[in-house]
């Protein structure tokens, strides 16, 4: 019964995540940028923009320059989470890809790094007056949600082991539209429930910063407005302005 419920939950969450995020991304991609607004240091070439964005995405370059503490916590969290996610691929692949095997031990440390980074961000949010001022309940809850996912995950690894083979059978089954029994382990159920929640709220929350980053004109535009005329579709439809200088305004 509960297995079926979780199966449905994960199907729904996956659809909402993919369709919701896809729709948002499509909206961003289709919304025109009427003006060239790259912000310094702005590359003059497409290649330069790719390098810039590469450094933003992998090293959080601007954040490094603007706030070292947030940068440290953000790097711990995001890189930790990436490794953890890649490590989890072993529950969805059979046979497990070699490089996923390779990163298994690192993935475990990454779990701690991820939670440490998140706790750092949460402490900042509470302790620093400026950041507390700009925080809404959802900002705290989002951190708590991901911390919850991390802690239940680490708990299953180190404190209350779960029948991991059965979990894998469940997820491999879902990928073939079969529902196999999920181990009734409280830690696991909380872990999966929180993950599904995260997937569902992703497209309607600030988590959209991940795809949104690639659509920020201030960072993604090439600084070449003098060389190439940039004109948005709606601006090209504006009624033409009168040619010439009205006689009463002639100097």
């Amino acid at each position: 019964m509960l297995s079926t419920l979780f199966a449905v939950l994960f199907y729904v969450a996956t659809i909402l995540l993919i369709v919701g995020t896809g729709m948002k991304v499509l909206k961003y991609a289709r919304t025109p940028a009427p003006l060239k607004i790259p912000v310094s240091p702005a590359p003059r070439t497409r290649r330069g923009v790719i390098v810039r964005m590469g450094r933003e995405v992998t090293l959080f370059q601007s954040l490094f320059k603007s706030n070292r503490w947030i940068w440290i916590f953000a790097m711990l969290f995001h890189w930790g989470m990436l490794l953890v996610l890649l490590r989890h691929l072993r529950y969805f692949t059979q046979p497990v890809w070699w490089w996923v095997e390779l990163i298994q031990p690192f993935g475990i440390y990454a779990g701690f790094a991820m939670v440490a980074g998140l706790v750092g961000l949460l402490v900042r949010r509470i302790a620093i007056q400026r950041i507390r001022y700009i925080s809404s309940p959802s900002d705290y809850l989002m951190l708590l949600l991901i911390i919850g996912i991390g802690l239940t995950g680490l708990g299953m690894k180190f404190a209350m082991p779960v029948d991991i083979v059965a979990v894998k059978v469940f997820f491999l089954g879902l990928m073939r539209f079969e529902i196999n029994p999920l181990p009734m382990h409280p830690g696991l159920l909380i872990h999966l429930g929180l993950v599904a929640t995260l997937m569902i709220i992703f497209p309607i929350s600030k988590l959209m910063h991940a795809p949104g980053l690639f659509f920020a004109p201030s960072r993604t535009q090439v600084d070449n407005a003098r060389e190439f005329r940039h004109l948005s579709a709606w601006a090209s439809q504006l009624p033409p302005l009168p040619e010439g200088i009205p006689t009463e305004e002639k100097g």
């Binding site: 310094s40 003059r44 953000a74 910063h209 004109p217 305004e249």
Partner: protein, 508 residues
Amino acid sequence: MAPHDMNTDDAPKIVGDPFKMPDLACGAMADSNTFKSAPEHNEPLGFPGELLENWQEVAIAKIGELAEKNRAFQVYLDTCVKCGACTDKCHYFLGTGDPKNMPVARQDLLRSVYRRYYTFAGKYFPWLVGARDLTREVLDEWYTYYHQCSQCRRCSVACPYGIDTAEISMAAREILDSVGVGQKYCNEIIAKLKRTGNNLGLNPKALRATLEDLEEDLEEETGLEVKLPLDVKGADILLITPSADFFAEPQIDGLLGYAKVFHAAGVSWTISSYASEAANFGMFIGSYENMREVSWRIRQAAKDLGVKRIIFGECGHAWRVGYSFLNTLAGPFDFLDQNYPIPQHILEFTMDEIDKGTLKIDKSRNDEFVMTFHDSCNVARGSAMGRKEGGQFDLPRQVLKAVCNHFYDMERDTIRENTFCCGGGGGLLTDDLIDLRVKGAKPRMTALQQVTEDHGVTHMAAICAICKSQFTKVMPKYGYEMDSILSVHQLVSNAVILEGQVDPEDED
């Protein structure tokens, strides 16, 4: 910072920290209110004269419209994670301590309303995501705090997602204008420009008289006929310069500098009375249509006069519009000489002449000045110069160093792409905001005091008419003379010796 030894003179003395974090002072600037525009200021711009009956409905619809028309606005509203990296970057926050002057908090004034009407979470769980209804209080708060943003983009450089508060602030002002709530300073000026071709409302006759007076000054100084041509058909170069260059100090001295450089270079040039303004306040109010109309005058003037090139004088936001937007708004400029950048900045022109060796320069004529350079925000973060990336930082410094013997930069985090706004940009250069302007200048002034202490810097140069006017007004509050701010081309003017120039000093 290491404690310094009192016995050594060259150890840096700490006069203050430009980044000193203020305590949060909620509501400190809530009463800052710039004068609202009258119907006669709004209507020529295509906005309702007074607050509409159904303003709420119109404003909410406008948010949706702008989100559909401007990717930046849409993405920036959605992607902020409230990390707080921007919170200590705004000069108005550092100067006032009002938390609503933190960039993210300023954005949230509008984002909270966007969420309420345009997002799932905001519609059904407003308390969870800080969404709120658009009430009259909210509208008034927008007016108050979006007129405490100079759209300088320092926060955008700091943001991990490049979120640009200037875009939000421009959108907010456009929404306000679209329901009939405008700012007098900006809207009156745009209306004036549409009537007369410049922000001052100077008619061609008055402009000609002013330029003739300046020609006399130049003749007195040099003994040469250095011209300031107006409406000369067939000239090669059209100079588009802020109208402040015609009447305000130290801007005038910059204009005289351009004239000398043009004279020395032997080029034919002209000013246009129809487009006698580089400034484009359409940008400050976020109105594409108004910005386009103002830019269109430049195209028409260039065509009418039959020029081959367009050069912009020293004006910060004008150069952002010129460099980044002009081709979009009034292009394509296929009728101009394609061998030169369109448009070109006066510093690009002067730098080329220096490189070519056309200018005879005596640096010692600026020896009374120990200089530093204030990067103007719109030039620094919204434009470029020259052929190399970062030219907008390097060219002014190279020109300054070519004409002055004493130059020292301010602290790295307060210059170049991290420069602090002067405190008067973005349509805030009005006397009714003087309290805000003085407070907003504090980070820049503190950085300046530091180089004064360390290197004996006496003067600061800038390439923006707004910066120059702002500093003239606020520098006395920070222990400097009002003429401690100079035009870059004023220093060029001092140092350039024209061929055949009769120097009064030499005659003695």
